[in-house]
C-alpha cells in the first residue's frame, strides 16, 4: 500500500530510479514531455506492490521523487 510521488516537471528521465526499483514499478512515459522538454517517468503500481523502500527517491538526482509514503 505504499506510494511514491513524482514531480514530473523536475524529472529529466535519467532512469536511475527505474534501475534501482526492486519491483520495476517506474516506467518512462514515451508519449509526452514536461514543460522543460524532458521525457518523464511514471509510477505504475496496479497491484500495490510498492514496498516504500524509497531507494528510488534516495537515488533520484533531482528530487523529482519528492515524497515516499509507507
Amino acid at each position: 500500500m505504499s506510494e511514491i510521488k513524482i514531480d514530473k516537471e523536475k524529472c529529466k528521465s535519467c532512469m536511475i530510479c527505474a534501475s534501482v526499483c526492486p519491483k520495476g514499478l517506474i516506467k518512462l512515459n514515451n508519449e509526452h514531455v514536461n514543460h522543460a522538454g524532458n521525457k518523464y517517468v511514471e509510477f505504475v503500481d496496479k497491484n500495490n506492490e510498492c514496498l516504500g523502500c524509497a531507494l528510488c527517491a534516495m537515488s533520484c538526482p533531482d528530487m523529482a521523487i519528492y515524497e515516499v509514503l509507507k
Partner: protein, 254 residues
Amino acid sequence: MEQTLQQVFKRPEPYKKNYNYPFCAGCGHGVVLRLIAEVLEELKIHTKTIATASVGCSINLDKFYNLDIVGADHGRAPCVATGVKRSKPDKIVFTYQGDGDAATIGFNELMHTALRGENITTICVNNTNFGMTGGQASATSILGQVTATTKNGRDPKISGYPAKISEMISNCDGAAFVARVAIFSPQSIIKAKAAIKKAFECQIKGLGFAFVEVIAACPTGWKLKPVQALEYIKNEVTKVHRLGIFKDFTESMA
C-alpha cells in the same frame, strides 16, 4: 488506509520552495546536495550555516538552497570559508566544490586549509573532469579516461597521473576527518550520507578540518547514459580513487 501511511522520504528543509536544479540528467551533484541538506536538517544546524559555493557546476547553490551563501572564485572556496569561520566561529561553515576547483586550481588552498586545521567542512564532488566547461580532463581524471582534452584517454606521458586528494589531505595533521565515498547505488548513497554527517559533527565538536570526497557521475562529460555512468563509477573510477575512511578523529576525540 491512507491515514496510516508514514512519510519515509521528503524534500529537505533547507531548500527553496521553487528550487531549480540546473544540472544535466543523472548528474551526481543533485544527490550530494540533497544529502548535505538532509544532514544539516538532522543536526539542526541549517539555520546557522553559511555555505561557500565554488566555480563550476558547484556554483549554483543559491538557485536552490535557502541558506546564507557566499560565492568564491576559482579554487578559493576554502580561503573564503576560512574568512567566514574566523569572523563567525559559532556558525557552521562548509565549502561545496568540484574536483576541478578543489583538486586542480585550488589544491594549494585546500591543502593549507587542512594544514591549518581550519574548523570547516569541505564537500568535494569528484566527477573526474571539468563538467561545466564541457568535460575537459582535470587533475583527478583516471588513466585512460576519455575527455574533451584527452581524446585518446588520459596518457600519463602527456598529462600526468590522477591526483588522489583524500590520501593527500589525510596526511595533513590539521585534518580530523577524511573520507572518500561514492554515489552509484542506494547503499553507496547511505554510506556517503553517513560520512557527510560525520564531517559536520566534526566541525560541531571543533576537531578541525573535515573533508569528504564524493565520487559522483558526470554523464554529460563522460558521454555515458546516466545508468551507465553509475556503472563506470563502480567498475572504473573507484578502482583508482579507492573508497574508505582515511582519518576519523570524531570517535577518539569526541
